[in-house]
Symmetry: C2
Subunit: 333 residues, 2 copies
DNA sequence: CCTTGCGAGTTAAACGTGTAAGTTGCGCTT
DNA sequence: AAGCGCAACTTACACGTTTAACTCGCAAGG
């Protein structure tokens, strides 16, 4: 099945072709500091490498240096939307520009323990959405992994990479609705328990926003992705005097909109709704959904910068600027 | 930054603790065929490995064997939805059960050439959505990669892994609508050119379905994710006598629904619509969207089986059963 | 004239595995 | 009792890199 007669082209082949030693090839290709190589030799090596289509073996390099250029990103086993997909795409590009390779591993319940994964891959950094135990973090650092980042996490712990932007998102929702004259807000919390790591900071942001605008705390209700149940929530909100709700994300927002229709009401006059994410179908909702969008490419760039700095042992870049997130105004609020 | 004084635990450590040679450790841990190890020794080695928390270095293993247990999945740079996310999650689990590790790499325009990726990682198999050039496929096989699979591709080439199910999806849409008494169908084709690798087989399936049911070929129109433009398409379909449309996916279907509302019409009486994917918001559409869903876990299992067989040099499993895809009936058709 | 320094390389030792090719000791045949 | 086969191991090399340490000429400084 596998063609084994064609050998891999190694640095020795390049060395032979260029008429130098393997070490020289290595020095040229990595342009190692404090090594003096004549322009002629350098050119010959480069030419030979190109001619042979040489690509160094990551395995050998990793084995030797003890550190690979792979950045491992652990996805949670809860449903991820297309925004995460977009983030990963941008992140992959941003890391590639820094000579790093992104490997995404979608977790699954039947998976082997993650420790086996990072012990095996010896990645340069590990990004995860969920938390690790302190023991596990210690073990990973001991194994030479430069950066271990939990992007979001329980509120009690120290702030995480994405915490700030999540809170900002929630605050922006509240500010937008307050700006429209609403004085009593609701919050549509997702039904899936595993989403609380994302939902809690967003809700906290909305709470803060209400406080700042001098509004009462939002009326929080869990809204499953089901028109009938969402209708009940809408009814309860109306009874409580709520005139506008911030939803955890666009899907929940669309559930609220479905609930509004189910109750024979119409958004935004009976109830205004604002989502998060600006998923493709947001503009196709009835009515088109006002939402908060995040510039994933900026988030990815910042994240990549953090990773690169941590690997190099430098301090991370300045906190991400607030302009990454903004309101997309449509008709639902 | 990095804790370097704690060394990695190697098979030599295990050997020392168990009082045997490194080779024995290797034989026990991989239970190599045709090697006879006494139960006592085997137990001591296993205990020592567990006690030390030993995990073999993937780098060293890959370097030695020339083949890793990583299955590389190359994502296209066009927008992927959450169904692909679900597929990957299931695939990760299915591969893990077979001792394989899934590494997903989201492509991006600014990425390094993919050849650098597979040359570096030496994966056991490469899965991709898009096509490779014949030269590239040859190069990869030569590099010892057992399986190179393009999941979908242009219709002219030989059928791909996912081709069949894609066609089946399209056919099922047509069958469902015909079963409801519709005799003149439309097809809502996506606006993004890069999606044609997925869209063409689906459309082909719908065409086939129409043929089988004795209906004229579907009236194909491109529908962007925009209510106004979608409204124009709806108008044109109605003028042509179309009473029901198959959409490329749920997002396009929701655009069609938005177009229907925009024209002051109501689905399904003026125009019936059926989508594909059963995304979470499908049931929140106005009206709730009838759609075709695929059992991603079954697809993943089949894919994993194919990969495993190819790596072992065995012939692949039987073609995926048709029961993987079915209609979810709601109100839009 | 002998040292010193430096440019331009080379040599050789790791890194942690897998595995082919030995090496024992021991029970069985003949 | 010599020989044989086999269970149960061990020895030793190879995989492709990186990198510390070394070499070798040649120009400059005292």
């Amino acid at each position: 099945m596998v063609d084994r007669n064609t050998k891999r082209v190694t640095s020795a082949d390049v060395a032979r072709m260029a008429g130098v030693s393997r070490a020289t090839v290595s020095y040229v290709l990595n342009d190692t500091p404090h090594q003096t190589i004549s322009a002629g030799t350098r050119g010959r090596v480069l030419d030979a490498a190109a001619a042979l289509g040489y690509a160094p073996s990551a395995a050998a390099r990793t084995l030797r240096t003890g550190r690979s250029d792979v950045v491992l990103c652990l996805l949670p086993d809860w449903p991820i939307g297309s925004e995460v997909g977009a983030l990963l795409t941008h992140l992959s590009g941003a890391l590639a520009r820094r000579g790093l390779t992104l490997a995404v591993h979608p977790a699954s319940r039947e998976d082997r323990p993650i420790s086996e994964l990072w012990k095996a891959l010896t990645p340069a950094a590990v990004l995860a959405f969920e938390d690790f135990s302190p023991a596990e973090i210690a073990a990973m650092r001991a194994a030479g992994i430069a950066l271990v980042v939990a992007l979001v996490g329980p509120a009690r712990a120290e702030p995480r990479e994405l915490h700030v932007s999540q809170q900002l998102v929630g605050r922006l929702q509240a500010e937008h609705l307050a700006g429209l004259g609403h004085t009593m807000l609701g919050y549509a919390y997702p039904d899936d328990d595993r989403l609380r790591y994302f939902a809690d900071p967003r809700l906290a942001g909305t709470r803060e926003g209400c406080l700042e605008q001098g509004l009462p705390a939002p009326d929080v209700r869990t809204v499953p992705l089901d028109p009938a149940t969402a209708g009940d929530a809408v009814k309860a909100w109306r009874a409580a005097g709520v005139t506008a709700v911030c939803a955890y994300n666009d899907e929940v927002a669309m559930a609220v909109l479905a609930g509004v229709r189910r109750q024979g009401l119409v958004a935004p006059v009976d109830l205004a709704v604002i989502g998060v994410d600006d998923i493709p179908v947001a503009r196709l909702a009835e009515p088109p959904l006002t939402t908060v969008t995040t510039d994933q490419s900026a988030v990815a760039a910042h994240l990549a910068g953090t990773v690169e700095a941590a690997i190099a042992g430098r301090p991370g870049p300045a906190p991400a600027p607030a302009e990454m997130v903004r309101v997309v105004r449509r008709e639902s609020a």
